[in-house]
Every structure is written in C-alpha cells, then in structure tokens.
C-alpha cells in the first residue's frame, strides 16, 4: 500500500500571515490577499449586522396589522435599506471577497493574486461606496425598494442619488475584484495544475468573477441614468418626459438576475468543498459541477425577463424567458444530485460545517424549486410582488448563501485563525439558525399564497397570525447568529490550536499551516496528489483534527 509523500504543512519556522507584521498600517494598507480577505470579512459582516437589524425592526413592525413601532415612511425606507445593504454590501462581496480572496491563490498553489495592489484598491473602493450608502442613510435614506423602479424613484423626494452613487462605487470594487480573480486563475496556477484539477471552490469563484465583470457595468449604467433623471429631470426613464419605465426594468434586471448567481455560485463552491472533505470522498462528478457552474454563468444572463411577466411584455418574450429560466434551473439540480451522490461510499464525519451544508441542501432545494415555480408564468401572475417571492429569494439567499457562508466560516476558521471552536456550540448555533430560518420564512410562502403583497406597511388582519409566526422565527434566527459570533469570538482567543489539516481534507489549502505563512506555503506546495483523491492514505499523524 503506497503512502503519499509527507505533505508540506509541518509547522513552519516563519510566522503566520497574521503575525508577520503587526502595525495597523500593515493591515489597512496590506497587499496580502489573506489580510485583504480578513478586512473584507469585517466590513461585510458589519453590513450583515446592519441589514439584519433593519430586518428585525421590519418584522417587529409586522407584529400588528396596523402601525406598531414606526411610521409608514420609516418602514418604507427600512425595507429599502435592508435590501440595498444586504444585496450590495453583504451578499455580493461576502463569499468571493472574503473567502475567495483568502483561499483562491492558496488553492491554485500561488503566493498571491495577479494584482495585489488592485486588490487593496478594490477593498477601499468598497469602503468608499459603503460610506456613501451610510451617508444616504444619514441624509434620510430612500423608499423606492432595492429595485428603484421608475418613475417613482425619479420623483421620490428622498436620498436617491447618494444611495445610487454608493452602489455605483461598490460596483467598481466588484468589477476590479472580478478582473483580478479571472487573471489569477488563468495565469498564476502552480506548475502542473491544469484546469480540471482545480478545487471546485476555485471554479466557483472563477464563474462568479465572469458574471461580476460582465453584468455590473449594466447596473452602473442604469443607476447613473436614474440619478441623472432624478437630479436633472432628463427623463430617460420617465414617461412624463417621454421615457420608458419598462426599459429601466429590462436594464436593471439584466444585471440583477445574473447578480443572484454572483450570490449563489460561491456558496455552491463551498458546498462542494465541505461535502468532499467531510465524506472524505471524491465528488460524484467533478465535470458536472464544473460545467454546471459555467452553464449557470452563461445562461443566467438570458433569463432576466422572468421578473417582468406582469410588467407589460409580449407573451412571446415572456415565454422565451420562462423557458430559459427552466434551463438554468437544471444546472442547479445537477449540482444537488451530484452533492448528495458524493456522500455514497464515503467516510462521513458529522461536524458543524457539514451540518450547515445539510441545511443548505434542504433549504436550497426548496428555494430553487420555488424559483422554478415562480418561473412558471401563470403561477407567477399570482405570486409576483407577494410574500411568496420574498420567501423564495430569502430561501436561496439566506437558506442558500448565508448558510453556506456559515459553513465556510466554520470550515475555514481553523485555516484562517489557527484555532478550533467548540463543536457543541457549533451544533447549537446551527440548530437555532436552521429552525429560526424555517420559522421566519415558511410562513411567508403561505402569506404570499394568501395574497399578501410585499413592501406593505399595513396589512389586513387575517394575515396577522402568519406574520407573528415569521417574526418569532426571526428572533430565533437572530439568536443563532449572535450565538455564533459569541463562540467564534471566544474561540479566536481561547480555542484549541489547530493543525494544518484538522479535517483530514485533501484540498490544497490544507497542505499548508494554519494560519498560512505570508507567502502561503513555506516550501514548494505539494500539489501532485489530487485535491479530491481520498484513495491514497496519508500518514496517521496528519489524519487527526
């Protein structure tokens, strides 16, 4: 029986990336992709917290059918801010800019991304954009919904322009990061590492980056025009001045549909990694995962009209968009089948990251299938702009992306921090998050069926029971998330030290120390053995957490 050669992650003589330099300046102006990933982590998590607070407030307002704790205008501004903050300040950058930044070079055996200084610039551009959005909040925020439909957004006397400028700027960060990652994967791979040997998380980030680069400019353009219409009454999207508001919708959704794939593809990458690692098993079909990733990235650009089935487009156009939406759904279905099949004949260890992935599987199946449901044209006529759609996208974005983000957090926590957290607390956190999520959003499917429209400050009394249930669920979800912050924070200082490979994974990032040194690997990275080759035993010393 052959034994693989010693992986090169024995404790390095050099300091970890976190200890190599210790001044504040060395963190804030670092060109080390790992430090930039950590910076992004804090910035995006703060945004998550802010968006989460908005959500909790909204749900408290919904405890009663009439006014509860706030005025209508406050409510309308809060749901807009919740959407804007969550989508652009958390969901889009969360996995790619944090975990992607940290892991991408390591997973391809490189010491850095292609353009480290551009990487730093991307981060500060993100911060500048976020600052504008915060400024807009301070100036009274806006009430248009995160979709800014015209002509209302053109005429609403609120802080529309600063918000749009903020998002425009954050868009630049997204594009530059996307360029950086694409070039990195193309040109910085270690010798001998072909495309079809790349870790699946790398593929996911690559596919995401393509969408980021191609879709975001269209958002920038549409928001720029809305700003001009709002500030100077140029009327390009204002029917009162000869413009076409439906055209705005086309342009907006041309970006915003691919944007949801920016949000889910990295999450899917995480799921692929965690399933393989914790079942100690090769993916059931590596190619299926890769091709479905590229399929989503491409076909995702062709489906935007399914947000506009009742907006006034022709039956033919609606039909085409509906059909293409079915096609894009198949790619996700393929992934789900592949993930579940990977477990077969594995050697499965139950741990917090895997629990989160199981949660992801269930919630993403519901979220994805309700996506197929709303893509079914006649059904969408009833569900459009109701809580059904709200529940659908929260299932995929929270049940999908946030759950995978939590999985990633728990999976790579030892790699980034060099510490282990308590498995017991991890499980409790998961139980609270999962049940809290269910409790929050399943009632919302039912609310949507019953006809409860979205973005409603007040609602008819008959919907109250379901609303109260949803609010209670949100408190459980929030408790789970707070608990997670708590025990992870504790582990940061007091957790047991982690070895280079506590999960006994074969993926490349586990072949260096935890945390990695500044240059990622202390010697030449040992990438001869495949990232998903669990057939060859390793020395016993490295197979223990």
């Amino acid at each position: 029986m052959t034994v693989a050669s010693e992986p090169s992650f024995l404790p390095a003589a050099e300091p970890s990336f976190a200890r190599a330099h210790t001044s504040i300046r060395s963190w804030l102006l670092s060109t080390d992709h790992k430090r930039i990933g950590v910076l992004y982590f804090f910035a995006t998590t703060l945004s998550l917290a802010l968006g989460g607070v908005f959500a909790l407030l909204l749900r408290i307002e919904h405890l009663t059918p009439g006014p509860t704790v706030m005025s209508a205008m406050t409510y309308n501004r809060l749901f807009t801010l919740h959407g804007v903050t969550m989508v652009w300040l958390f969901m889009i950058p969360s996995i790619p800019a944090t975990f992607g930044n940290f892991l991408l070079p390591i997973q391809i055996g490189a010491s850095e991304v292609a353009f480290p200084r551009l990487n730093l610039l991307s981060f500060w551009i993100y911060v500048l954009g976020a600052a504008f959005v915060l400024l807009a909040m301070w100036l009274g925020a806006l009430d248009t919904g995160w979709t800014f439909y015209t002509p209302y957004s053109v005429h609403s006397p609120s802080a529309v322009v600063p918000t749009l400028i903020g998002i425009f700027i954050v868009g630049w960060s997204t594009i530059l990061t996307g360029v950086n990652f694409i070039v990195t994967v193309h040109t910085m791979r270690a010798r001998g590492l072909g495309w079809m040997r790349l870790p699946l998380f790398t593929w996911a980030i690559y596919g995401t980056s393509i969408i980021q680069v191609l879709a975001t400019p269209v958002l920038g353009l549409s928001l720029l025009i809305v700003s001009l219409d709002h500030a100077f009454a140029w009327g390009l999207f204002d029917p009162a001045r000869g413009g076409d508001p439906v055209l705005y919708q086309h342009l907006f959704w041309f970006y915003s549909h691919p944007a949801v794939y920016i949000m889910i593809l990295p999450a899917m990458g995480v799921v692929s990694e965690v399933i393989s690692t914790f079942s100690h098993k090769n993916p059931y079909s590596y190619k299926a995962i890769v091709y479905s990733t590229l399929g989503i990235a491409f076909v995702g650009f062709l489906t935007w009209g399914h947000h506009m089935f009742v907006a006034g487009m022709s039956v033919f156009d609606a039909g085409a968009f509906g059909a293409l939406s079915m096609l894009v759904a198949i790619f996700s279905a393929v992934k789900v089948f592949t993930w579940v099949s990977t477990l077969s004949k594995g050697s499965i260890v139950l741990a917090t990251p895997l629990w989160y992935v199981f949660g992801f599987l269930i919630l993403f199946m519901f979220g994805g299938m309700t996506g197929v449901a709303v893509a079914t044209m006649s059904l969408d006529v009833h569900w459009h702009d109701t809580y059904f759609v709200v529940a659908h996208f929260h299932f995929v974005m929270v049940g999908g992306t946030l759950t995978a983000w939590l999985a990633a957090l728990h999976y790579w926590f030892p790699k980034v921090t060099g510490r282990l957290y308590s498995e017991r607390w991890g499980l409790l956190g998961f139980a609270l998050v999962f049940s809290g999520f269910f409790g929050t959003f399943v009632p919302q499917f039912l609310l949507g069926n019953a006809g409860m429209p979205r973005r409603y400050y007040e609602y008819p009394e008959r919907f109250q029971l379901l609303h109260v249930a949803s609010t209670l669920g949100s408190w459980v979800l929030a408790a789970g998330l707070l608990l997670t912050v708590g025990y992870l924070g504790h582990a940061l200082w007091f957790g047991r030290r982690a070895s280079g490979n506590p999960w006994a994974s074969r993926c490349f990032e586990w072949r260096t120390s935890s945390p990695p040194p500044e240059k990622n690997f202390s010697a030449q990275p040992e990438l001869g053995l495949d990232a998903y080759d669990y057939t060859t035993p390793w020395p016993a010393s490295e197979e223990r957490a």
Binding site: A240, S285, G312, G322, M326, V340, I348, L361, H382, P460
Partner: protein, 342 residues
C-alpha cells in the same frame, strides 16, 4: 382535492375561471417539490448513516458518475420543468387573450386610489362592481407611477403603467366581495391603496346598472370631451378623410401603419394614439397629432374611446362636406409641415 390543498396552503378560494387551472398546476409543482425534497433528504440520511466513518478507515474508493444515470436524471428533471413551463405558458396565454363578449371597464390608478369607469357612464372609486359569469376586461392606466392591479381570489395581476394602457381580463365564477391590492410599491400609502371587487348575481347587477347609469352614457361624455379638446379639427365622424383618420367605423378595424404593420384599432391602440400619437401612425397621414398626455383626464380618454366605439357601425349624424386636404408626402424631412403643428 383542490379545496383541501387551498386550505392547507392558504390560497384564497378560487373565484375566477383561471383559479382551478392555476391551482392545479401549483399543486402538481409543489407536490413534486415536496416529494423530491423528501426523497433526497431520505437518501442523504441513509448515506450519512450507512457511510458513517468507521474508525481507522480514512480512505474511500473513487466513485465516478454513470453517464447514463446522470443523463436520465437530467433529462427526467428537465422534462418535468419543461412540462410545467408548457402548462404555465398555455394558461398565461389564455390570461392574455380576452374572449368575445367581455364587459369593458376603464381603470385609472393614481396615488393612492383606484377609479373605475363603466361603459354606462357609472364611475366608482375603489370598488368595482361586475356581474358573475361574464368575462370582464380592464383597460388600465396610471396617472403617476407604476401600480399593479392584484386580485388574489381571481389569480390575476397586471402592472398599471403611466403613459400606456395595459389590459387584464378574467371571468368571475362566484358572487362575493374580493380584495383588490396594489402590488407595485408606489409611495407612502402603497399599503393603503386597497379596493374591492364586488361580484353580483345577474339580477343584482342589472339593478346596479340601472341605478348607476348617469344622465349621460360614457359615449356621450366622450363626445363632449372630444368637442372640448378640439379633436374634430382633425377627425371626422362621418368617414371623410381629414388631417387624421375618421372615427367612423374605426373601432376594431384593421389599420395599416406607416411602417407597413397592421394593427387592430382597439381601445389600447386608440388610447396610445392619444397619449403617444407618434408611436404608431396610420399610413397616409402625417405624424402631426399632438400628445394629450397630461391634458386629457384618463376618464375623459376612456370616454372618448367609448365614443369612438359607438361609431363602430358607421357615422352618427350628417355633417358638412369638407374641402380636399392635400396630405404632404412622408419624406424624411425634419421640418414638419402644416400650420396645425404645435
């Protein structure tokens, strides 16, 4: 079965001819989803239990996907998705194709109320009264921002746009009072823009018509509006060609546009011609009609359409003989001709 399904999933009782079909498709889809999720969850649970790590064993065999298996799964799932798309498309198509004999109601949405104009001249605010068992077509426009007309019980919804007319039709199948919601965020009182559709039995509806019919029918109101806005400077009602097409026999006829296309001169087209006249100009006429967006109250526009419709069968009254009007050829000149140009 549908009744049980509706109760369990909080769907309002179906009150239109669309509801049963839509809810059945819904049941099919959600049922399949729940079944699929259950199966995959059971399979996952089985794998986790069966392939739990045994101490000492840390290697696993390489398992590669069977090509046929993958293909079957993909084709099977895709077929299911496509089937749902087909059914949904056909239902959607029927939702967009109004049947003959529909009652027409003109709807104006504005921040934050609904205004309904019936053909008999009746005007209603926020309450729409219609008879059971007859299809009703709504011709809708907005005075300001985008709204959306949503009747959960009827399973219908359509955005209502400023500067354009959108249509929605349905056939109520049960008398009752049904919630009307605005389903597109339109400002501070969006959630207060509520309304009601009252579906009456045939006799009751006749009584409603008799009681509500104004001194003037909608068509008469339309004629007054046309006079007031000087429409007759360019349009005749007796078939004579003038600056603009005659309104006699216009409604519902097929007209040829300047670009060769043919359209039906229905309510939507006629209203568009008032709001955005240059969009689709009848062949042989100069594009000189000014827009009435903003100057014509939407109920006036609706009334004028009703008046034009009343001329469907022919001219209404004898009129004077107009002099020949020389229609300028449609060249690509930037300077519009004629002293009627604003």
């Amino acid at each position: 079965m549908l009744r049980w399904f509706r109760m369990l999933f909080r769907l309002p009782p179906g009150a239109s001819s669309f509801a049963d079909g839509v809810d059945t498709l819904h049941l099919f889809l959600i049922g399949s989803t729940l079944l699929g999720v259950l199966l995959l969850s059971l399979l996952t649970t089985y794998f986790v239990l069966r392939y739990r790590e045994r101490s000492g064993v840390r290697t696993t065999p390489v398992v590669l996907a069977s090509g046929t298996g993958e293909l079957l799964l993909v084709v099977g799932t895709l077929s299911l998705f496509v089937l749902w798309w087909v059914i949904g498309y056909r239902q959607y198509l029927s939702m967009r194709r109004r049947p003959a004999g529909a009652i027409t109601v003109y709807v104006v949405a504005k921040q934050w109320m609904w205004k309904f104009s019936h053909e008999n001249g009746a005007l209603e605010n926020n309450v729409l009264t219609i008879p059971v068992g007859r299809p009703v077509e709504l011709l809708m426009t907005s005075r300001d921002v985008i709204h959306s007309f949503f009747l959960p019980a009827m399973r219908v919804k359509q955005d209502v746009l400023p500067g354009r007319f959108t249509t929605l039709w349905f056939k109520p199948t049960a008398p009752g009072r049904y919630s009307l919601f605005c389903a597109e965020y339109c400002g501070i009182s969006h959630s207060a823009m509520l309304g009601e559709v009252r579906v009456l039995g045939a006799e009751e509806y006749q009584r409603f018509l008799a009681d509500s019919s104004g001194a003037h029918s909608l068509a008469e109101i339309g004629r007054e509006a046309a006079l007031k806005h000087a429409c007759f400077s360019c349009h005749t009602v007796d078939g004579q060609r003038h600056i603009g097409p005659s309104w006699s026999r216009l409604y519902g006829s097929v007209v040829t546009l300047s670009n060769g296309e043919q359209v039906s001169a229905d309510a939507a087209y006629l209203t568009e011609s008032m709001m955005d006249p240059a969009a689709r100009v009848v062949a042989g006429y100069a594009p000189v009609m000014p827009t009435y967006f903003g100057s014509l109250d939407s109920s006036e526009a609706a009334a004028i359409v009703a008046y034009i419709r009343s001329l469907e069968q022919g001219p209404s009254s004898p009129s004077v003989r107009l002099p020949e009007v020389v229609v300028p050829p449609l060249v690509a000149s930037s300077e519009p001709k004629g002293d009627l140009h604003p």
